[in-house]
């Protein structure tokens, strides 16, 4: 184990300007390897983007060389594990206030090791102003990129790559955020960018977009006019004033014009008839708060109205809003949403973006990195390295907001392989992987957050134990604990911080945090041992299955699948009767013609894959069904990884002629899912898998395990037959579903004709 942490550059962060309050090793990470800088300098915030490589440890499995040995020794592990360094690509985005720009440039200059970089892509209104400073400090040539082009490139990128990027904002509802599942077809859409003015752009394809209109009444009007009216200089302070004001003291409302009659006329008396209509008098003073609020309403309503008119003209119903006027401020999102709903009568949806502030920087980066083809890859948000959305609590004053506004981070990992939607989804746009939305379900949220908190000790122990030879394992594990604990606390306060909160996102965040501190696969040894034990049992299990009659065998195979799924939690027996039971339909189906090809998503290593899945696969093969066995690309808990599955298959092939010939004849194919999550998102799967599914004409999908079949995909609708199997290993969840601990889910579904 090398001593230097592969991630984080922290050692010499002292030189950073003292005014930067966050530890620099958390801000400018992996700067040594950074290349391809891009910078977006707005009116008050600077967004820096760079591309870097992250070196981290991965656990690799490798078969022992068994040649020359005809018998296995009982106590030898089935394969060896080695920890290797792997390099992956990561995009870093940092947002900070313009006041820090010089300090940040100094810091970058001091730590930039990579000298290949010659230019920096720059965009945003401030790019001109700081051009000289950047060129002088970084000795990089500044390449100016068009603001709107960058913005749209960035917008396309986040919409495609970040799940739950877009959300609608609902006032007074809990949660206020409702995230949109990623739509496979993001075009066409309307982007309304509210900077100092307003630009309305219709985006039709990746490269085709058109400025369809705009307005001069935008963020600059709020700020400029607000500063004149209230003598308040800062934008955030103006918003804060507005959040406390009563616009009805300044605006002429319908009820002011109509008197009390608005009620009998069926009018809403609160509608604004004339903004600032009441201020047309010399003999009255108006409070700053009231004027700021009136101004905010005036501008938001106006923008919303224009956006609706443009949406209508172009027959679009999705309008994304971005720009510094929004910047995640609940008060502006609220007024914009209200206005859009009012003027479109609900026909147009106002959507906001979690990473709205980064669009320009992302776009500028992409412009500069075109030769690396960043659009060819899929990217995933790294929950460990990203700061997430700010709180929207209305009480939060500018001082409190300032902290999170000072430095904000987004990190995106380049995924090894491009991800696409499973071709077998019935309706990709409406597919939602997660079964329970914890942002929505406060009770479930509370339960699961506590559950993950309580399990943290165990995970830390497991992590330390997985690296007995490492001197700093305990220290790193402690850092992991802190990081994940903090994430959980953040999520308690702001469940929407990373999009829709789900059991999946909690699990994924934990995996990201473990990776962050170089615990790539804490279960590797456990999996190795269990795989060894299970492999030794395999011949006996197959023999005994073969002695059973056909019908008995089918039940035994299903029970095997379920049992393997249980053993990791130490259950001895499943609870009867089954909670969801369509076994008889499945049996009936088996009496019919064989399936052409089955796609199986495997769950755990050990008993599950070897004694549950493989005998089931063997039976399918014997029936004449081809099998695609999909396992995770990277480790997650004790789930079987693709590389482990290859070894396991190889070992089983050595024992079983059915599997042997199927592998040789490519009737059994082992593929990777593209995921490293204990859950399963069928809309983000390895492209190769999708191609294979299409090529082989898969007509049966088997999903097993709680993570893949209950926490996710329980309600997933497929256009072919599907089997979802799991044992509910959590008492709380079992009760919620109306069953008991170790209740069985056996869900066989046939799509309606």
């Amino acid at each position: 184990m090398a001593e230097c942490g592969a991630s984080g550059s922290g050692s010499s962060g002292d030189s950073l300007d003292k005014s930067i309050t966050l530890p620099p090793d958390e801000i400018f990470r992996n700067l040594e390897n950074a290349k391809r800088f891009a910078i977006d300098i707005g009116g008050s915030l600077t967004k820096l983007a760079y591309y870097s490589t992250v070196q981290h440890k991965v656990a690799k499995v490798r078969s022992f060389d068994h040649s020359g040995k005809d018998t296995e020794r009982d106590h030898e592990p089935p394969y060896e594990i080695s920890v290797q360094e792997e390099i992956t690509a990561r995009l870093h985005f940092i947002k900070f206030e313009n006041t820090y720009i010089e300090a940040c440039l100094d810091f970058i200059k001091d730590h930039l090791v990579n000298t290949e970089t010659k230019v920096i892509q720059a965009t945003g209104g401030g790019a001109y102003k700081f051009k000289d400073l950047i060129e002088e400090k970084l000795r990089l040539k500044v390449d100016k990129e068009d603001v709107m082009t960058c913005l749209i490139k960035g917008c396309n990128f986040v919409l495609k790559n970040i799940p739950h990027e877009a959300f609608v904002y609902q006032k007074d509802s809990d949660p206020e955020f409702r995230f949109q599942t990623n739509h496979p077809h993001i075009f066409p859409y309307l982007l309304v960018n509210i900077g100092s003015g307003v630009s309305i752009v219709k985006v039709e394809t990746e490269d085709r977009f058109e400025w369809v209109g705009g307005s001069s009444i935008g963020g600059g009007t709020f700020w400029g006019l607000g500063a004149l009216l209230t003598k308040t200089k800062k934008f955030d302070e103006l918003l804060h004033l507005a959040s406390r004001g009563q616009h009805s003291n300044v605006d002429m409302l319908v009820r002011d014009v109509y008197g009390g009659a608005h009620q009998t006329l069926g009018l809403s008396g609160n509608l604004i008839a004339s903004s600032f209509g009441k201020s047309a008098t010399a003999d009255q003073e108006f409070s700053k708060e009231d004027m700021a609020k009136s101004l905010l309403h005036m501008i938001s309503n106006d923008i919303g109205q224009l956006a609706c008119l443009h949406a209508r003209l172009h027959s679009l119903d999705r309008v994304y809003f971005g720009g510094f006027f929004i910047r995640g401020h609940p008060v502006t999102m609220r007024t914009i949403t209200y206005s859009i709903n009012f003027f479109s009568k609900g026909e147009v949806q106002a959507l906001f973006l979690r990473h709205e502030g980064y669009l320009g920087a992302i776009g500028a980066f992409l412009k500069g990195a075109e030769q690396d083809n960043p659009n060819q890859y899929s990217w995933g948000e790294n929950y460990a390295g990203s700061s997430g959305l700010m709180s929207t609590s209305p009480e939060l004053g500018p001082a409190q907001r300032a902290r999170s506004g000072t430095f904000d981070l987004l990190e995106m990992d380049r995924l090894e392989r491009p991800l696409v939607s499973l071709p077998l989804l019935l309706d990709p746009p409406s597919y939602v992987p997660d079964t329970v939305d914890l942002t929505d379900d406060a009770l479930a949220r509370k339960y699961w957050l506590t559950c993950f908190e309580e399990a943290l000790d165990g995970v830390v122990k497991r992590a330390v134990a997985s690296q007995p030879d490492s001197v700093d394992a305990a220290e790193r594990a402690e850092k992991f604990r802190q990081k994940y604990w903090n994430k959980l606390q953040t999520l308690r306060q702001q469940p929407f911080a990373y999009g829709t909160l789900t059991v999946r996102s909690l699990l994924d965040t934990r995996e990201h945090c473990l990776n962050e501190f170089n615990f790539p696969d804490p279960y590797s040894k456990v999996k190795q041992r269990e795989n060894g034990v299970a492999l030794r049992c395999f011949p006996g299990v197959v023999r005994s299955l073969d002695t059973l009659g056909w019908e008995e065998r089918q039940l035994a195979l299903v029970k095997g699948l379920l049992a393997g799924n249980v053993f990791d939690w130490g259950a001895k027996a499943v609870s009867e009767p089954w909670l969801v039971d369509s076994y008889s339909e499945w049996l009936q189906r088996l009496k019919g013609p064989p399936h052409k090809c089955a796609l199986i998503f495997a769950d755990n290593s050990g008993i599950d894959i070897i004694l549950g899945v493989f005998p089931f696969v063997r039976e399918l093969l014997l029936r004449g069904t081809e099998v695609i066995l999909a396992c995770n690309s990277g480790p997650a808990l004790n789930d079987v990884t693709h590389s482990e599955s290859l070894i396991v298959a190889e070992r089983i092939a050595g024992m079983d002629p059915v599997v042997h010939s199927a592998l040789r004849e490519e009737r059994l194919l082992l593929v990777q899912t593209g995921s490293s999550s204990p859950c399963l998102d069928l809309s983000r799967l390895d492209k190769g898998l999708a191609a294979l599914v299409r090529e082989r004409g898969a007509d049966l999908v088997v999903i097993e395990g709680m993570g893949r079949a209950v926490h996710t995909n329980y309600h997933a609708a497929l256009c072919c037959e599907s089997l979802k199997l799991a044992v509910i290993k959590n008492a709380w969840l079992a009760e919620r579903l109306g069953g008991r601990l170790f209740s069985v889910i056996f869900k066989y579904e046939v799509p309606a004709e």
Binding site: G43, G125, D146, M148, T149, G195, S196, G197, S199, W211, G213, G214, S215, S216, I217, G218, G220, T221, W223, G224, L225, A227, L228, L229, V250, M252, V254, D256, V257, Y258, G259, G260, A261, H262, T264, L265, G266, L267, S268, L271, I272, A273, S274, S275, F276, G277, K278, S279, A280, A282, M291, M298, N301, D302, Q305, L306, L309, R312, L313, K345
Partner: protein, 574 residues
């Protein structure tokens, strides 16, 4: 150019620029509508009837106001007998309410027996409450039928109700062909005229006299900021009449016509006065008066002091204030308001005023070369094909209507950024106290010191998006900077406010025109009063951003159309 408002003169190019070039459109009337086949109703019937034609049945040839210029009198009313029920089925609040005005009940009394069904019931209700002309009881009578028609009123009322209105409105007017002539040529025929009822027999004059409402004739539009009052001053008063004229009526007439200012805030726009107008068989002048809405209590008090209620007159009023001040009128002034739908009145008023012209000149005009102060010319516009028309009424707030025919229109949208916003912000930013002062400051200011232009950001045009450098990128955008805040004058701020509000209205109007597929846009409302800067900017912006597809039109009587429409309702001129 007589009687040009003094304040208007203070502002150089605001008043008419090119009166000489005006061609009066009615001197070359469009081919007359096929009146014989499809006779329109006699809208200008001088009889104060309810425009319910069946009431006219039995009258061989209702007394007609004759068009003085090449127009024949209206034909007989349509014989269609199902017309009336259809009207009732589809009646809208505003109209129905008008029909329920107490002033009409007496006139109807004699004929009500001929009516059955719904109308009979309505009249019955009316009679229940309206036993005696002008008596308090009558007001109760008025109040109770409102509940009968409340369904219609709700939707017709204000911004929100109207949002759901368009379909219904259009549907209803589509099924009510007789409300107005469907052919636009006919529309003008029905409207007022210049000359008196020369061919009307003595008997008819007599009948007219009985049935038209008593003097004084007012139309009132009580807006959020301004009250607009139109007053018809009869000039054909006979000696006999003069003798009969009660003292209070005389004093009102004298007071209104001999002054140009009333109290400290009331102003008569003398330059707008329409002379020698014939209304309901009476010849006279139409006066245009305005005063701030906050002086409404004083106005009502004056009505009380001058004993208006003794005149048994009806106040037809529109605008939100008709509702707001209804109770005050009743309790303080002992006056019953007849409340009318403001959009109905607006459209009615515009079409009428356009048809009678402006004392021989054109009512409607446009600007040529609006951006060039040297070459800019105000030219008359012949609105001979008025439909479809986008009507942008800029008062305190803004309403935008798409008008497809006289009775077929819908409210497209509105914005709260209107004249009230301009004046309100100017008061806050500059400490000015009057609209005139605000405009005067604006005329001397430089908005480019306040606004951030495209060229301020991009150094020139933003070619990627085809934006010219002179376009405003961010209104008040320069005011984000402390130095620039300190460097601007009040005049600059007033100018920027004016430009901001005007551009925004132009932009919304343009989008509506595109969405509604309408290319002539008429801007009216008191925001445009003595406001050439705004009008020229609207004209330019509409032309520029639509690449010449849209035309901005204006009208001399800017803000008075609602009040005119209310007066027309009083006189039952459809």
């Amino acid at each position: 150019m007589a009687g040009v408002d003094e304040k208007a003169q203070a502002l150089p190019p605001t008043r008419p620029l090119g009166g000489a070039a005006i061609t009066l459109f009615w001197t070359t009337p469009p081919s007359p509508p096929p009146r014989n086949q499809d006779p329109p109703p006699p809208p200008a019937s001088p009889r104060p009837c309810h425009r319910s034609l069946s009431l006219d049945r039995g009258m061989v040839n209702p007394p007609r106001v004759r068009e003085s210029i090449g127009r024949e009198a209206f034909g007989p009313p349509p014989a269609s007998s199902d017309w009336l029920p259809a009207r009732w089925r589809n009646g809208r609040g505003g109209r129905r309410r008008a029909r329920l005005c107490p002033g009409w009940t007496a006139a109807e009394d004699g004929r009500s027996s001929t009516l059955g069904g719904l109308l009979g019931r309505q009249l019955w209700l009316l009679r229940m409450g309206a036993g005696r002309f002008g008596a308090p009881m009558e007001r109760h009578g008025r109040a109770s039928p409102t509940s009968v028609s409340s369904g219609g009123e709700q939707a017709a009322g204000g911004p929100e109700g109207r949002r759901q209105e368009p379909l219904r409105r259009r549907a209803s007017s589509a099924s009510v062909p007789a409300v107005g002539a469907s052919a636009e040529g006919a529309r003008r025929d029905r409207l007022g005229s210049y000359s008196g009822p020369t061919s009307v027999s003595r008997q008819r004059v007599e009948s007219l006299r009985k049935k038209r409402p008593r003097f004084p004739w007012f139309g009132l539009d009580i807006g959020g900021t301004l009250v607009k009052l139109v007053y018809f001053e009869p000039k054909d008063i006979t000696a006999e009449e003069e003798e009969e004229e009660v003292e209070s009526l005389k004093s009102i007439r004298k007071y209104l016509t001999s002054n140009v200012a009333y109290g400290s805030t009331g102003i008569r726009d003398v330059h707008l006065e329409l002379k020698d107008l014939t209304l309901c068989g009476r010849k006279g002048n139409l006066h245009f008066i305005r005063f701030p809405t906050h002086d409404m209590p004083a106005f009502i008090q004056m009505g009380r002091d001058k004993n208006f209620s003794s005149l048994h007159t009806v106040f037809c009023a529109t605008g939100g204030g008709a509702y707001k001040f209804e109770q005050d009128f009743l309790t303080i002034g002992d006056l019953q308001l007849c409340k009318l739908d403001e959009l109905d009145c607006l459209i009615k008023g515009i079409l009428y005023i356009d048809s009678v012209g402006f004392n021989g000149r054109s009512q409607c005009y446009y600007f040529e070369n609006p951006a060039d102060s040297e070459k800019c010319q105000k030219l008359p516009f012949d609105l001979k094909n008025p439909y479809p028309l986008l009507l942008v009424n800029i008062g305190s707030g803004v309403s935008i209507l798409a008008v497809y025919s006289k009775d077929n229109y819908k409210r497209v949208t509105g914005t709260s950024l209107g004249g009230g916003t301009f004046f309100g912000l100017c008061c806050l930013l500059t400490g000015c106290t009057t609209f005139e002062e605000a405009l005067e400051m604006a005329s001397r200011g430089d908005s480019t010191k306040v606004d951030k232009l495209v060229r301020d950001i991009y150094g020139g045009d933003y070619e990627r998006f085809g934006l010219p450098g002179w376009a405003v990128a961010s209104s008040f955008g320069n005011m984000m900077s402390k130095e620039k805040r300190e460097a601007v004058s009040k005049e600059d701020l007033a100018r920027a406010t004016l430009i901001t509000i005007t551009n925004n209205i132009g932009s919304i109007a343009r989008m509506c025109a595109l969405n509604e597929n309408i290319n002539q846009v008429v801007f009216v409302g008191n925001f445009l009063r003595i406001n050439t800067i705004a009008m020229r900017l609207l004209a330019y912006a509409l032309d520029y951003w639509s690449k010449g597809q849209l035309k901005a039109l204006f009208s001399e009587h800017e803000g008075y159309f609602g009040a005119v429409g209310a007066l027309l309702e009083l006189l039952k001129i459809p």
